[in-house]
Symmetry: C2
Subunit: 236 residues, 2 copies
Amino acid sequence: MKRYKRDNEYSYALGMTVCFELLARRRERVRTVYVHPNINESESYFKLLNLCGSAKIDVVKDGKVFNILSPKENCFVIGEFEKYPSELSPDAPHILLVSPSGCGNVGTVMRTMLGLGFKDLALIPPCADPFSPETVRASMGAAFALNIAEFSSIDEYTDRFPDRFLYPFMLTASKSIEEVEFKKPCTLIFGNEAHGLNESFAELGQSVIIPCTRDVDSLNLSVAAAIAMYEVGKRL
Amino acid sequence: MKRYKRDNEYSYALGMTVCFELLARRRERVRTVYVHPNINESESYFKLLNLCGSAKIDVVKDGKVFNILSPKENCFVIGEFEKYPSELSPDAPHILLVSPSGCGNVGTVMRTMLGLGFKDLALIPPCADPFSPETVRASMGAAFALNIAEFSSIDEYTDRFPDRFLYPFMLTASKSIEEVEFKKPCTLIFGNEAHGLNESFAELGQSVIIPCTRDVDSLNLSVAAAIAMYEVGKRL
């Protein structure tokens, strides 16, 4: 057992809640479930054992794994899973994140997507690893319920999905989110936390701004994406 | 120089951006600005020196401070400031967070507040420290632009502000955010990340839910607060 690296074929779901989501959504990808020797033998624990038993997933009691994968966290269950590819639905709304750097932000966007009914997430690198234990944990396991696909560039994305309406969210946009008419199938595009999207994105479709006071440079990425999903989701 | 503790009279703004906000908003509270010996002598750096010079604030070049206060961070400027009390505006909309535990969440809520025009934040303990370096940094310095006050209980808050319309955001609420008519002056109330608000809050005013799919237990605190502020802000 070694620390997780991005090019590993497998990753880890840290914590009971995230493991239950993993087992509910991607049971066939689970290799092993590790439990900490100090785990409280609660109702949830026995539910976990039953689930793993009926799916013939090994449950291993081993404290060392926790020292390596979760040294600082209050975590008593770790699900090891094989990473998997997924395809985005061509008709559904997409969220496209261009070079997001924070695992916490990407995980929070995933959780918000699932909560607001968006199931398809596209990513353009360099970007936070959507399968890292940190991202998966920040998503509260929503990562397992979404279709997530990486594209090497915006061109690769638009080649793959040529007939979509693209809405880049930009501070330089001329239209506010309330003024824009969102057409289906739509892709809401958000840039990096520090730099946003570069100006060339404005040519891809109708650029959009979430109205803000002049007191801040911008909203947090996961906050901007949430407001956009909430507002667009009402109207789709 | 020791690590920050909650009962200290002073706290720290970590990083250039946050220090500029501190100097812009609360210059009179700044005790010292520390710069790292390896700081890049950029335009921002000279702007900082000029600002501190004209405000007669000592600038100290000292690497040790950074080892203590920001050992893992890519941080080259630290502003030491005296903590200060503030009063909430009785007529403005308030955000009230009941026992939020995460500094990152509270900081993100602060940044969103400033971006969406909410200036008054009430907190009920136990809660993340609104003045901790971590919260202040997550707020990107928005903490310095807001009025922030702690109340020992919801009763103390309602005694101090008896004539407000209270809107507790709860998963058990009967009305969705779109159905509720928000009256001024309003207070939007959010509970702890894990537990939400207890049922007694429903008696304080009109409880509100942000509609969600059944795929998630709830939205992230800072996401829920952002959506609420966006929606309510449009209508106030």
